[in-house]
């Protein structure tokens, strides 16, 4: 009798759960993007005879089913919890949590990638800057693993070797060491990036090396964004972490500057408030990823220009480097070919700063 009851309970429970999951999969609306993972979700694949025969449809459907599964983030969180706690795994999707910080394991040091980055920077220097009264500088932004990995037993790249390789092989640029000015508190807990409000020391050092006339013209006003900031690692780790607070530093000088985006042809302010309600609020700084941006500073007439070759870390740093420059041009060679830069910029009597994070240098295949 008991057995019959258990038979019924198990079959009914699992059957109902299966049915409900399947039904809700079919009925739930299709989402285009995953805000937490910052990626586009797979849509329903094209159904054609060819896609059926080549099994492309089936592959697409499987990705679609996984991406559009109801309560997807909840299930991902369950997985992350099980991995981290009962199973005692130290990372989920390559992200570990240490001292409340979500950190991506960046390892090993990809020496070929570092050499590729050095070659690319040298190529840019020789093609555009050599013999043209250009002063080149290089600074490297350590990722969070630099502060947390070794001390806590996580594998990490050989940072000393990376810094040494970059310093040695980019002798055309003066190296600005900022690693001693940074600590883990200067980074967001849920995101890859550093906090702009903690960068004044870094910016001051860079400006002091670029030239005395580039001294900060006044104090910044710190503005805290009301909306909680969930960074990119929040979604990747799939663990419920407390959100960060996003702040930005402004001043009359920064407020007066305008940013021209060569791709879109649009002119915006340095801080793009519309982006605060988007998928990645960090895009508030210079509107996020862009191949070529031109920041005009009306406070300085006929002053020197600064050209920054940068990754996303440069977006929050650049507003703090505007003092003393009439124009700052931001170039991201992940989105524009190095050979096309000359079509937009004439290098002559400028300061040129390369600002790259260790993570990007270690994956420099994305440089064009």
């Amino acid at each position: 009798m008991k057995d019959k009851k258990t038979n019924r309970i198990i079959v009914t429970l699992t059957g109902t759960l299966w049915f409900l999951l399947s039904l809700s999969s079919w009925l739930s609306p299709t989402h285009e993007i995953s805000a937490s993972e910052r990626r586009k979700l797979a849509g329903f694949p094209e159904f054609t005879l060819k896609s059926l025969v080549t099994a492309d449809f089936m592959e697409g459907f499987e990705q679609y089913a996984k991406d559009q599964f109801p309560c997807r983030f909840l299930f991902r969180t369950i997985k992350a919890y099980v991995r981290f706690y009962p199973l005692g795994q130290k990372d989920n999707n390559g992200i570990y949590i240490q001292d409340g910080y979500a950190v991506k394991m960046e390892y090993p040091l990809n020496e070929a990638s570092i050499e590729r980055a050095e070659d690319k920077f040298r190529y840019l220097y020789e093609k555009y800057m050599e013999g043209r009264n250009v002063n080149a500088y290089l600074t490297i932004v350590p990722d969070k693993g630099y502060f947390l990995s070794n001390a806590n037993g996580y594998p990490s790249m050989d940072y000393s070797k990376l810094f040494e390789m970059m310093k040695t092989n980019t002798d055309f640029a003066e190296y600005i060491d900022i690693s001693d000015l940074l600590e883990i508190d200067d980074y967001y807990k849920t995101d890859i990036h550093w906090k702009q409000e903690r960068l004044t020391g870094v910016a001051d050092k860079i400006r002091s090396i670029l030239g005395e006339e580039k001294e900060r013209t006044g104090e910044y006003t710190e503005i805290e964004v009301e909306r909680p900031f969930y960074g990119v690692y929040y979604g990747h780790s799939a663990l419920p972490m407390k959100p960060d607070k996003l702040k930005y530093l402004t001043s009359d000088l920064i407020d007066d500057c305008t940013v021209y985006n060569w791709e879109t042809g649009k002119t915006t302010a340095v801080y793009d408030m519309e982006k605060l309600s988007g998928n990645d609020p960090y895009n508030v700084y210079l509107s996020g990823a862009a191949a070529l941006l031109e920041i005009s500073n009306p406070a300085v007439k006929d002053g020197k220009e600064l050209v920054i070759f940068r990754d996303s870390f440069g977006s929050s740093l650049a507003p703090l480097l505007l003092d003393g420059y009439s124009k700052v041009t931001m170039i991201d060679i992940r989105y524009i070919s190095s050979d096309l830069i000359g079509d937009y910029i004439t290098f002559d009597d400028q300061d040129v700063l390369f600002v790259y994070s260790t993570s990007v240098l270690n994956s420099s295949a994305m440089f064009k």
Binding site: D3, I10, T14, M58, F69, K79, G88, K90, Y107
Partner: protein, 441 residues
């Protein structure tokens, strides 16, 4: 009607992964359906034998073409210096499994162990039945002939089937895939040290067990839900005390297939010593080759042939007198070595990996990554090692014997089933790594 629905579902299931090669399976079914009838019709005459030969040649010919043609060409090229072009044939999923199933059918009809199936739908359902179609177990026609025509369903069978399926998929998704990730990390890593090689070797050995036995559990469970009783495929192979015992517990459906359709017809052990040893050699070489068209699989099979010969000739009785712990270490050490050979892309890599495991490559003992992954995967290793033994079953047996144990287990069962269903769903949704190792065979 029931068979029609199963066959239709099975064809969709197969076509989902291999739409192009569904035709191969259909042709194989049709040809062997006719040959089965002819074998029975001419049973006892020379034509019965001839039709059997046609069936064997046709089925092995299909398998040979799709699985071994390029291996054969490559070896001929390297031996003769020719440069015959490769055919680059794509291996249809599960062809090794369904070919062996079909062969068991026609051979059993020839041996009069079963009657030829008159109903094409029933035979097609047997061959194409989706739970075991692509990764086994190799189901004998004689085992399910009766159920194909008439099978009984009950809520109890469905419950057992669901439970078995959920345990199977959990073994696969929660354990095998996790260990597989570690193997991939090892393969992608630049760090090399003795500890990392052992971590990889242990992880792969456990991965292949949980992957394959998990799949067999799923197949057996689904079979139960649909009213079929499949043969067990694994019986805690890692608790074996000899290699002979290991092969009585590992991939049992393949082992018994080779025993019944090759080893015994060759004379088994009832022949002279040299012939007996040759029989073992041949069976294990083919067992290795069945797993894949590469020399490492052949060496893997021959490695076991060598060990089995030694055990049968000399060390078998000695092993029985040894303490259990030493026998277990002996078996596991050799099994781990065998799977390192099995998994390597080529022979030189397997040799290099084995040398490194035993500290003969001048590598350091440990490193940052290997130490990290040892800590990160420690609990999974403990769960996998414990789960690969019969300890959980014995513990459950003990609990059942206690006064309230039966009630507790009956109450816990639905909760465990729901928990496993939710957990495997969670893992599958977030999975970027989900290989089925035995699909490639």
């Amino acid at each position: 009607m029931k068979n029609g629905v199963l066959l239709f579902s099975s064809l969709i299931f197969y076509g989902w992964g291999e739409p192009e090669y569904i035709i191969c399976m259909v042709i194989s079914i049709l040809v062997n359906y006719i040959l089965g009838l002819l074998i029975e019709r001419y049973s006892g005459s020379v034509w019965g034998r001839r039709w059997l030969i046609v069936s064997v040649v046709f089925s092995l010919g299909m398998l040979g073409y799709f699985k071994y043609a390029d291996f054969f060409i490559a070896n001929v090229n390297s031996l003769t210096g020719f440069s015959a072009p490769m055919l680059k044939v794509v291996l249809p999923i599960g062809i090794s499994f369904y070919t062996f199933q079909i062969l068991s059918y026609t051979i059993d009809v020839y041996r009069k162990d079963t009657k030829a199936q008159k109903n094409l739908l029933s035979l097609a359902t047997y061959v194409a039945f989706f739970p075991q179609l692509i990764a086994g177990p190799i189901v004998r026609y004689t085992d399910i002939a009766q159920a194909l025509d008439k099978r009984e369903h009950s809520l109890l069978k469905v419950r057992i089937g669901i439970r078995r399926f959920l345990f199977g998929i959990s073994k696969k998704v929660l354990i095998a895939n996790s260990l597989g990730e570690l193997c991939k990390i090892f393969a992608d890593s630049q760090e090399r040290n003795v500890l990392f090689y052992w971590l990889y070797a242990g992880a792969f050995t456990l991965q292949i067990y949980f992957d394959f036995s998990g799949y067999s559990d799923m197949a057996i469970g689904l079979g139960k839900v649909f009213g079929f009783d499949f043969q067990e495929n694994f019986n805690y192979p890692f608790i074996s005390k000899s290699i002979t015992e290991f092969w009585r517990r590992w991939h049992m459906s393949l082992g018994t297939w080779f025993r019944d359709y090759l080893y015994i017809p060759l004379g088994g052990n009832r022949v002279g010593r040299m012939r007996w040893l040759f029989n073992i050699f041949l069976v294990w070489m083919l067992t290795g080759l069945w797993h894949g068209a590469a020399w490492n699989f052949v060496i893997w099979g021959l490695f076991f042939a060598f060990l089995l010969m030694i055990e049968k000739l000399w060390s078998g009785s000695f092993l029985k007198k040894m303490p259990d712990s030493i026998s277990h270490v002996y078996v596991m050490l050799l099994v781990i070595i065998s799977f390192v050979i099995f998994d390597a892309p080529d022979l030189s890599t397997s040799a290099e990996r084995l040398r490194s495991m035993f500290g003969m490559s001048g590598l350091p003992l440990t490193g940052i990554q290997s130490a990290y992954y040892l800590r990160s995967y420690f609990v999974i290793f403990v769960i996998a090692i414990t789960g690969s033994t019969d300890l959980p079953r014995r513990v459950i047996g003990r609990i059942r014997e206690t006064p309230f144990g039966g009630i507790f287990l009956t109450g816990a069962e639905p909760l465990v089933c729901v928990l496993l269903l939710l957990l495997t769903t969670a893992y599958l949704i977030d999975a970027s790594f989900n290989p089925f190792l035995y699909f490639r065979f």
